[in-house]
């Protein structure tokens, strides 16, 4: 449910660093709380955000919530698949359901995030 190789935020985003960029998405818990996701509003490639800034919006049948940057960085890729199949957030939150890829500004900020175990503790 909460892969060991990811880092997690209080706002229920995950981040995975790979080949110089980092993928960001919503956790299993977040997608379960949201219910069926029907729309994801994405930022533009090239936009820059601070840690904790809202970079997009996720809309489900129940509610609308902001998406927050786990760490500061620049958007280098967005998941184009979100337009036609936002349900990927529900069905495969750590795979097909990734939302953006970013170039991290300061890798040191990753240390402020939670590991899988610490995140799961916050859910109890």
């Amino acid at each position: 449910m909460y892969p060991k190789e990811l880092k997690y935020t209080d706002d229920h985003e995950w981040i995975r660093v790979e080949n110089g960029k980092a993928y960001v998405g919503l956790t299993h818990y977040a997608q379960e709380q949201l219910g069926d996701v029907v729309f994801v509003e994405l930022p533009d490639v090239g936009e820059e955000f601070e840690m904790g800034d809202s970079f997009g919006v996720v809309e489900s049948v129940k509610t609308v919530s902001d998406l927050f940057m786990p760490v500061a960085g620049k958007i280098v890729e967005i998941n184009e698949g979100m337009e036609d199949s936002p349900e990927a957030v529900n069905e495969d939150p750590y795979g097909e359901g990734w939302i953006v890829a970013i170039e991290i500004e300061d890798k040191g900020q990753l240390d402020q995030l939670m590991d899988s175990e610490a995140y799961q503790k916050t859910l109890e």
Partner: protein, 484 residues
């Protein structure tokens, strides 16, 4: 079920529901330019008059309304709408008025607008009120435009932030964005009220104002409201009162006295006029003296017993609505206020609060209450207990309410309560209706315990069962198209 066929699906070629007399004047062709003409006839349904009547009567009977059942939709104040309001608004002298008639011919209508304004000023503790805004959110936008005009006039255009607590209504941040402002959200404290420390942190010379409901969305009176007003004023901001929850305070407490500068009223909530599609709505905005010059044009004034529209107000933000607002709705609210009288309105709020507390206390035994303290006109119950213990969600619970002829409460809002059910009974329900609701909710709690799998399939008796909301939102079919 035949009843649910669309009117288009009932169509049969050649059927007609009308007959026109034969043409007895010379026919004129080519009146319209070619580019405005249809290439082929519109695919309108072909049905007989009787079928049309049955179609729409059957559809209307599938509706749930406050006239045929309990409707505890939190934050919407679904009170009974007295039918005398309709009678008065349909008097031929009012119904036949045209807004282009001269002031001489419309003195009665102008007088009613002036008097309604006075009543709303008195109820809200404000100095003047514009009747133009056509809905609550329209009132919010108007109020924010007034805030902007005020700061601009004082050379404080850098003020662009509006503070909204996390329990605020969703329309608040939307209106802020519409106005070109930026929302700053602050958290609630552990009692469900504004966190003064959090407020202090965001106050600076960029703050244009704060938007609050009081009682707030959790149904609690903001005990520190005077302190909030003092702090925001000291920082140079203005205070906006979202009147969505005004049904709780009439005659007991006035936003103007609390320290607010601006208020909108929802006539369709507090003052017994119909909601939404059956409305339209109406969202008059009241202000304190310092904001009066900016109110929309025109204002109704009186001089020597003669009423007139005053357009000579150079600092006005201009019109926010064609003509003078939803006049028919204003009439209904005027009638409501006159029928209730000052003491009656006070009784309204007293009974609304009593009814909500009665249900809350009774249901706190079978459901989880995140904040268990005296509420005002509404409260937020949670389906968390049922979810944790039996895997049944708030959706499942409220769908079953439909089987008992009760409209579900507002659900999954406010966002700060898990599995939220926001319940507002209003003052117009009898003890028998409240008891029936309590009994039904207890029955559902029992079903969650004994047969959760069955409850997940509710509703059982409605014309359509569980709808696929996700598909409807992802791939909405917005218009009927003939089959190829």
């Amino acid at each position: 079920m035949k009843n649910r066929d669309l009117i288009f699906e009932k169509s049969r070629p050649g059927k007609v529901g009308y007959s026109l007399p034969e043409l007895d004047v010379p026919q004129k062709d080519n009146i319209l330019p070619d580019n405005l003409k249809r290439k082929e006839p519109a695919p309108l349904p072909e049905v007989a008059e009787g079928e049309v009547i049955r179609h729409y009567i059957n559809l209307s009977q599938l509706n749930h309304s406050v006239d045929n059942g309990f409707y505890p939709l939190g934050s919407c104040t679904m009170k009974y709408n007295p039918k005398i309001n309709e009678d008065i608004s349909r008097l031929p002298g009012f119904a036949g008025l045209h807004p282009y008639q001269s002031e001489d011919m419309t003195q009665g209508a102008l007088k009613i607008m002036a008097e309604l304004e006075k009543y709303l000023c008195e109820i809200g503790g404000m100095d003047r009120v514009t009747l133009q805004p056509a809905a609550g959110a329209h009132g919010e936008l108007t109020g924010l435009m007034l805030i902007r005009a005020y700061h601009k006039h004082r050379g404080q255009e850098q003020r662009k932030k509006i503070i909204i607590p996390d329990s605020g209504h969703g329309t608040n941040p939307a209106s802020v964005t519409m106005c070109g402002y930026e929302t700053v959200e602050i958290p609630s404290d552990d009692k469900g009220c504004i966190d003064l420390e959090a407020l202090k942190e965001v106050l600076d010379d960029k703050v244009a104002g704060i938007m609050l409901t009081n009682p707030n969305t959790l149904g609690f009176y903001e005990e520190n409201v005077s302190e909030v007003c003092r702090m925001v004023h000291e920082a140079g901001g203005l205070l906006y009162y979202d009147g969505a929850n005004a049904n709780a305070i009439m005659g007991y407490s006035r936003p103007g006295d609390m320290g607010f500068d601006i208020i909108h009223f929802n006539l369709h909530k507090t003052f017994g006029t119909p909601h939404g599609g059956g409305g339209p709505g109406s969202g008059p905005v009241g202000v304190k003296d310092k904001l009066v010059p900016f109110l929309p044009n025109p204002m109704v004034e009186e001089e020597d017993g003669k009423y007139f529209f005053d357009y000579d107000r150079p600092q006005s933000i201009g019109r926010v609505r064609s003509f003078y607002g939803n006049f028919g709705v204003l009439l209904k609210a005027f009638t409501y206020i006159r029928m209730m009288g000052a003491r009656g309105l006070k009784q309204v709020s007293e009974d609304a609060v009593l009814n909500a507390n009665y249900i809350m206390e009774k249901l706190s035994k079978s459901y989880y209450l995140k904040y268990h303290r005296n509420c005002m006109h509404e409260f937020v119950l949670s389906g968390k207990k049922q979810k944790d213990e039996h895997g049944v969600t708030t959706t499942d619970i409220v769908k079953n309410l439909l089987d008992h002829g009760i409209h579900p409460p507002t659900v999954y809002f406010p966002l700060i309560v898990e599995e939220a059910m926001m319940i507002e009974p209003t003052e117009t329900e009898s003890k028998e209706t409240l008891d029936n609701f309590i009994e039904v909710m207890e029955k559902i709690a029992k079903m969650a315990e004994e047969d959760p799998e069955k409850l997940k399939e509710a509703p059982f008796t409605t014309p359509v069962r569980r709808l696929d909301e996700a598909s409807a939102a992802r791939n909405p079919i917005l218009k009927w198209e003939p089959e190829e």
